[in-house]
Symmetry: C2
């Protein structure tokens, strides 16, 4: 008898499993900093079937707190992958048509090489001896995986937020391998304010004595610091408008208690989100991944236009009206620089009150845009 | 011989001194929560001369991190008070004409009763046994001081940010005592987003083990937590635009070091501001004062218009175009509610790129507006 509660709905990939691709220990993976990593491991999930011509592969890149598990259910799961609304049979990333890959970024904590993985040289977790990684390094590690599948050209590289940075990086670094790029709610560089928010999050983690210079894997983890970092993040993910509508000044109890406990709904929400995050995320990874985003700057000698020279992909750039973390103005700069290079780009600003979170929530609007865009790309690519 | 470096410039109040007004220990000061405080102490500074008719007094209210020392130099000081550009002979708050008072808020840490003051009942610092205070309590304590001077009606109550909340509170709670109100870069209530930023700051402090439930006055202080709280604050005080102009992606060193040390200028700035703040501010006061702001809501049964019934002051409401912490939209709601009550109000949105910090920086524009407004108020008041 099928356990209905745990059975996957029919429109999600039926059976998903995180797999691991590992380079041999003697092979060095070179990073942008010049550092070399041995035994590179990439955790990934793949959905749908790779066509014999290997021309239907789509790479989805995740954001700060995401992982390889983009869709479907793992055995026993009650909640599906982080973008399940978008990935599955008949969905935007139609797994009946496309071979969809999603991998955990390097520097992450969900199976790919990162500060919490074991250094083959010492047998202990890397912690802060893990080299600093960049968005380019994330893309470069994904390329190893894509090549492992024998894919010469991806139909599309797609992502929102930091995932969008990786998608842009792919289009710029490996133009011959990217037929199209979907960049959602993202930027071509981190601004001073974006760096500032990340830096405060990092400082919150490092201020936690349990962080202990990054060396805590066999001890108490810096949960309090990581929770504060996540709370800061959450404020930036929501719009002022959505926060006001969702919480306003609503209280968790009957009346003000004149004490420092959780009184307002919005306080309870932030604490809940912070506490939940520390159960599933590694504080050191938070440092590495935010650092990678802060380093991100596609410009060449201060010019974005120069970065897109030689790029051959088609682009779909999506921004959200109320996203103040990665505001539409940054997306428009990308579009302008692409246009100035004569590159085929479609820009769409989705009117949404959800702020930066919209890239995960406005899936109906995104589906319309992306489904059509991928279909068009596929037709053009096959025609070639 | 006069030491020129330390001599006060001629346009600042020549000799300033923080004074202390203290109610006898047997007198109870009642708070909004119902709690009572014994031995209420108010630290204040006063500049200029109170006229025989006592009709030239102006009360200036400070913001979160301010104090009674609004202008001039204390002996040995190299920097003047926090709004010295605005207070002094011939300035906006012309001390040749007006008797200017500024007092430290209760709950603060600069001489007025607060968590770091000694509980006369125990002989030890209150710490978290200090009662929660509200913006109304701050105004109510200032009223004790104003009455001590024998002043029946203030020519004006003025303030920016949290100081503006106190000014509005005065006009609403003690209408007969306030001839005019100058509310700058402020709000009539804290929104969910404003509460959220405060709450994360409080969580950062409470997450610091040195905070120790607020009991740290004879031990190490929770400096790391307070620094993080202040860093979060600073991001909200600057505009995206001013941060980008001031720092952009400028580095503190020649090139990226691929490490977690301070690399970007903006990181260095935030760390510097955080570290400096902990030298001069008490972490518990940060909790109490942000809580007072979060509690602030002038609305009566959800209506701002009702709050201003019976108010008789003239108003000058000033907002700044790039202030996203206390955006012009909130000021405009105040103006609308005043107008609907037939109250005399002037609204001015100053075009500035400095964000919320503008209330401390745009003193030239503010001077023009406030000087004129006070002069008019004085003429009307005397004519009455």
């Amino acid at each position: 008898m099928v356990n209905k509660e745990n059975a996957a709905p029919q429109d999600t990939p039926a059976c998903v499993e995180t797999k691991y691709f590992r380079l041999p220990d003697q092979v060095s993976f070179s990073l942008e900093s010049g550092a070399k990593l041995k035994g590179l491991t990439i955790a990934y999930e793949a959905y749908g079937k790779l066509s014999p011509a290997k021309d239907n592969a789509v790479l989805i890149c995740h954001a700060l707190s995401g992982d390889a598990h983009v869709a479907g259910y793992h055995p026993g799961d009650k909640k599906p992958g982080w973008w399940d609304d978008m990935v599955g049979p008949g969905k935007a990333f139609d797994t009946d048509r496309y071979f969809v890959i999603c991998s955990n970024v390097i520097g992450g904590c969900k199976g790919s090489s990162g500060p919490n993985s074991v250094n083959p040289g010492t047998g202990k977790p890397y912690a802060l001896s893990f080299p600093i990684v960049s968005i380019h390094d994330m893309a470069s590690a994904q390329k190893v995986l894509v090549e492992h599948f024998g894919i010469k050209r991806l139909l599309a590289v797609c992502g929102g937020s930091m995932g969008g940075m990786q998608a842009l990086e792919w289009a710029v670094s490996y133009p011959e391998m990217v037929a199209s790029c979907v960049a959602i709610g993202t930027s071509y560089k981190h601004s001073a304010q974006q760096i500032a928010f990340d830096e405060v999050g990092r400082q919150a983690i490092m201020a936690d004595p349990a962080w202990n210079g990054g060396d805590y894997y066999d001890k108490e983890h810096p949960s309090a610091g990581l929770a504060v970092a996540r709370m800061i993040g959450h404020i930036t993910y929501m719009s002022n408008e959505s926060m006001e509508k969702k919480f306003g000044r609503a209280l968790k109890k009957q009346e003000l208690g004149y004490e420092f406990s959780t009184e307002f709904e919005v306080e309870g929400y932030l604490r809940y989100r912070g506490d939940n995050f520390v159960k599933r995320f590694d504080a050191n990874s938070y440092l590495y991944i935010t650092k990678a985003m802060d380093y991100f700057d596609l410009q060449k000698e201060g010019k974005l236009m120069s970065a897109f020279k030689g790029v051959s992909s088609r682009f779909l750039v999506i921004a959200f009206s109320s996203d103040w973390l990665y505001p539409p103005s940054q997306s428009k700069e990308i579009v302008k620089a692409l246009k100035m290079n004569g590159i085929d780009v479609t820009y769409c600003e989705i009117s949404s009150e959800y702020g930066h979170d919209a890239f995960l929530l406005e899936f109906r609007e995104e589906t319309k845009l992306i489904k059509h865009f991928l279909d068009n790309t596929f037709k053009r690519m096959v025609r070639k």
